[in-house]
Symmetry: C2
């Protein structure tokens, strides 16, 4: 069993991005720009936005974070999006989700210029994935493909089982794997006999959000396990049951730890697996930066 | 084993369309309009276009067929599409596919106003299916759902296996079934051990295009078989092997017959199946008319 070190892949891609931006800055006199819009006081969202802002700065991307009070009207928010659409220095626009409940999310998001849809969640951009006409993907699925590429794993002919059908992870990664010649099954909350499906998977991708839910007996010997789950654990017993050694130590220091959807005992049956933390997680923000760079290059007609 | 009589479902929907258009004509003073563009001399395409034009007229849809010589330039063809986009009497624009090889198909199709994309094949409209935000679907998948609805078949929790990953049938029906809570697997030419997948299907949808390819031993007892294949047979031995009784008689009269992808011997294991002919086939053109009506109603703000 080999570890798919997303953290390492992420570091390599970040170095490539820095290098490429340096060159582009010299040739075009410009750098990619990312605008992140956050509405309301969700602490988790604020932390994500902060880490995105920080990474953008590290990589040479011009980042600006626009914060709004929860009381802002839909019209004002849309007006800001239109302003960002028209701003030539902005290549990617990200509206941090979830928006506060009073908003109709799509009524807001549909205003983003599809050429600046850095999260790749607008219908036209998802449709382009469906039609296999694009190389820009939502960040987490894009990160999964980068990890597989890095380790020279060819999915053609594999049975892939995706657990979760969100439009941010499950559905796009399923379509992307179908386009790469895998035979893909999407499972979800209404699936019957989930374990039977999982046991047939050469490639198992889990985006459920339940700690250790996928147990040793549910995975196939020699399979590849990709874990999108990031689950917070704050009970000592649970930490010992679900978390890897480094997280157990973290719990002793900080009182919490994280773990994935796939139980650590299942790892030994796998040929490859992504750990939590350090697997797919670190790829997501990196791919946001990667997408910002792609959109910048697309605008400069530099995208192959 | 019960027959899913697409022909009958199609007839009922046609009656509903006629009735609704009559009412809309009185209330709005307008009728839905469909424009079909055909380029070149493909005989099969010409026959399809003719049948579409005829059915539109029968149902009270204002249809016009625009024929171009294969020598027309892309620019001229695009100019015609823009003209149709601007024509208020045209609710649906259909470019008959395949276009002659000299054309870049998407370079042409991408010019259709998405609100007039009656075949539902533009990225934005496929993306809306992906996001479960629409009730307008490509014609063949739409026809499949109508048949299942008509016979009160609820796919929630079923294992559905779709064979074929085209953007016209396989991928959209897979997404639509996922949205309806089925657990869906898409198989295709690169799938290994196809029969193993098929034998697990409660609902099997085949869009392969090979006569009788799916044999009795590949289908599950009690399953629902949906056959999209329309395969022409012109050898006596093949007709006897693959075709149903009425088609064997047709062969004796006309020298050809049609059959589906699913072998007739497999029918007896099914709880329901769509025959060929008379199953999904008759639904496709009917759903084109249905979509034209939907787009008309959408434009008049009458779509629920």
């Amino acid at each position: 069993m080999a570890i798919l070190e997303g953290k390492r892949v992420s570091s390599e891609i970040k170095l490539q991005i820095i290098e490429e931006i340096n060159i582009l800055k010299k040739t075009t006199g410009k750098v990619p720009g990312l605008s992140v819009v956050i509405v309301g006081e969700n602490e988790a969202s604020k932390a994500y936005v902060k880490s995105k802002d920080r990474m953008a700065s590290e990589l040479g991307i011009k980042s600006n974070v626009i914060e709004f009070d929860e009381n802002i009207s839909s019209d004002k928010l849309i007006q800001k999006i239109i302003e960002l659409n028209e701003n030539d220095e902005v290549n990617g626009i990200l509206i941090q989700l979830p928006l506060p409940k009073k908003f109709n999310t799509w009524e807001i998001l549909d205003n983003i210029n599809p050429d600046k849809d850095v999260d790749c969640l607008l219908p036209i951009n998802l449709g382009m994935i469906f039609l296999n006409r694009t190389t820009i993907f939502p960040c987490t699925p894009a990160g999964i493909l980068k990890i597989l590429d890095f380790y020279n794993i060819n999915v053609s002919g594999m049975n892939a089982v995706v657990v979760g059908r969100s439009f941010i992870v499950g559905k796009p990664i399923a379509t992307m794997l179908t386009n790469k010649n895998a035979t893909v099954t999407i499972c979800h909350s209404k699936t019957k006999n989930l374990a039977d499906h999982l046991r047939r998977a050469n490639l198992l991708i889990s985006a459920i959000g339940r700690p250790g839910f996928i147990s040793e007996d549910m995975v196939k010997e020699g399979s590849i396990l990709i874990d999108i789950g990031i689950n917070y654990i704050n009970k000592k017993d649970d930490v010992n049951e679900y978390c890897v050694e480094s997280q157990i130590k973290k719990f002793d220091r900080k009182g919490y730890a994280i773990t994935g959807d796939i139980h650590k005992k299942a790892y030994k049956k796998a040929s490859y697996y992504t750990p939590v933390p350090g697997g797919v997680g670190p790829m997501t923000v990196t791919m946001l930066m990667y997408n910002t760079l792609q959109l910048f290059k697309k605008k400069q007609n530099l995208l192959k």
